[in-house]
């Protein structure tokens, strides 16, 4: 099951050229761009590992793309996303985040049902990959 998360999630994966164009927009808007990766793609897992430091004072997307490619090379079987942090007063949060790399095999999620009292039901999602310990998931 193809994971869809963040901006552009229902489009096909972005090409490097498209990634550059998006990063260019972020840099022109003054956002700090980060590269993050994880092997726990649960939708509520907001804390992904950072690849290096947030990239301040970079002027051109080529520098960011260099880091993305370095991360892809080191972590080919991980989800990698690019996020853009807007530090302007009153915003101070992520403005954009999209996936730039995904593992070849994505087992997807199980819908877990739990009976409660009466006829009420509690639902949760569970990633099949997360059954294995960290580092062996993909």
């Amino acid at each position: 099951m193809r994971l869809t998360q963040g901006t552009f999630s229902f489009l096909p994966d972005l090409t490097d050229e498209q990634i550059s164009a998006q990063v260019k927009y972020c840099l022109d808007s003054g956002f700090a761009v980060n590269v993050e990766y994880t092997d726990d793609p649960h939708p509520r897992n907001t804390y992904w590992e950072m690849w290096g430091l947030p990239m301040f004072d970079i002027r051109d997307p080529a520098g960011i793309l260099m880091e993305i490619n370095a991360c892809r090379k080191a972590r080919p079987q991980r989800y990698i996303r690019v996020s853009a942090f807007d530090d302007s007063h009153g915003v101070e949060s992520l403005r954009l985040s999209f996936i730039v790399n995904r593992p070849t095999d994505e087992p997807g999620f199980r819908l877990q049902r739990e009976d409660l009292g009466g006829r009420s039901m509690r639902y949760s999602v569970h990633s099949y990959a997360a059954d294995k310990p960290e580092g062996q998931r993909y």
Binding site: D57, I58, R59, D60, A62, G63, I64, M66, E67
Partner: protein, 311 residues
């Protein structure tokens, strides 16, 4: 093929397709950068000629690309050699602007670094540091001042070599993303290139910055003063000319930089002179540098530069 061909025919197919270089020149708005270069940079004839030639090459290259002729993007890494104060950094700034207007670099900013910014202090420190700088310079110009300090043959465990290797790789693989300019004194740069053939072969343009003549320095000083809303008094110019010729003979003469320092000291003396005069001052007084502001210099009294400490 003739003009009667339908309009949707790609123009690149004919050898007779007219090419308007002048039009292209105007579109690139390159002419006014070259003009300001001419106006604001005194002297430096060989440098200006080389910049014009480079601009022409890039412009023709752009035309060729438009007409779908094969155009390998040229190597534009440069080395600027010359004595201190001959305008290497200033020219590098202009170069970045020219390259941006010609669409050769995307942003056209200048990242000026020295050895300290590139080379780390312990194992594993150098590569991230160099890469960080390179990332910042992407889309612009990376200006490495006193580049020969990167290579220290006398210390075989020096990390400079690692930095050079990363630079070499980037200069080769990211030719479209950034332009590297190495700058420094001529003799030391020559030695640096001799022991680093890899770098030498990746640099196509070697620009040598000549020293300024006394007349050029005088013209430069006038430009500097005009920028700060100062001017020479009627008798000041010959005195300052004399100052320049004397200063040029002395050690540690750093061309335009020495002139800037001399002017700064003259402003200091002028302020003190005005303060001591106790008469009604005018706007003109605040702007004018008088001969005595230079004559008080140790260059005239003791024959050595002001900056030097007396024993």
């Amino acid at each position: 093929m003739t003009d009667a061909e339908p309009a949707n025919e790609p123009p690149a197919t004919s050898d007779d397709t007219p090419v308007d270089l002048q039009e292209e020149l105007r579109n690139a708005e390159i002419q006014d950068v070259l003009d300001t270069l001419d106006r604001e940079l005194i002297g430096l004839k060989p440098v200006k000629t080389r910049i014009r030639e480079t601009a022409a090459l890039l412009l023709v290259d752009r035309m060729r690309k438009k007409l779908e002729l094969a155009s390998e993007s040229p190597t534009l890494h440069m080395s600027f050699t010359g004595n201190p104060g001959t305008g290497k950094t200033t020219v590098a700034l202009r170069m970045a602007e020219i390259l941006r207007r010609l669409g050769y670099v995307r942003e056209g900013h200048l990242v000026a670094v020295t050895r300290d910014d590139l080379v780390g202090q312990y194992i594993g420190h150098t590569a991230p540091k160099t890469k960080e700088v390179i990332k910042k310079a992407m889309g612009g110009v990376l200006f490495i001042d006193e580049a020969y300090y990167l290579y220290r043959p006398e210390n075989e465990r020096d990390y400079g070599q690692e930095s050079i290797e990363i630079l070499l790789q980037v200069m080769e693989n990211n030719r479209d993303d950034l332009v590297v300019i190495l700058a420094g004194y001529k003799d030391r740069m020559d030695r640096f290139f001799q022991s680093n053939q890899g770098i030498r072969s990746r640099i196509a343009h070697h620009l040598d910055f000549p020293d300024y003549t006394a007349d050029e320095l005088l013209a430069i000083s006038k430009l500097m003063l005009a920028d700060q809303n100062y001017r020479f008094g009627a008798e000041t110019e010959p005195v300052f000319r004399d100052y320049i010729t004397r200063r040029m003979q002395m050690p540690h003469f750093a061309n335009a930089r020495s002139i800037r320092n001399a002017l700064d000291r003259a402003r200091l003396r002028q302020a003190n002179r005005l303060f001591a005069s106790k008469r009604q001052l005018t706007r003109g007084d605040l702007m004018t540098i008088e001969p005595e502001d230079f004559l008080a210099s140790r260059i005239f009294s003791e024959g050595r530069p002001d900056g030097e400490q007396s024993s």
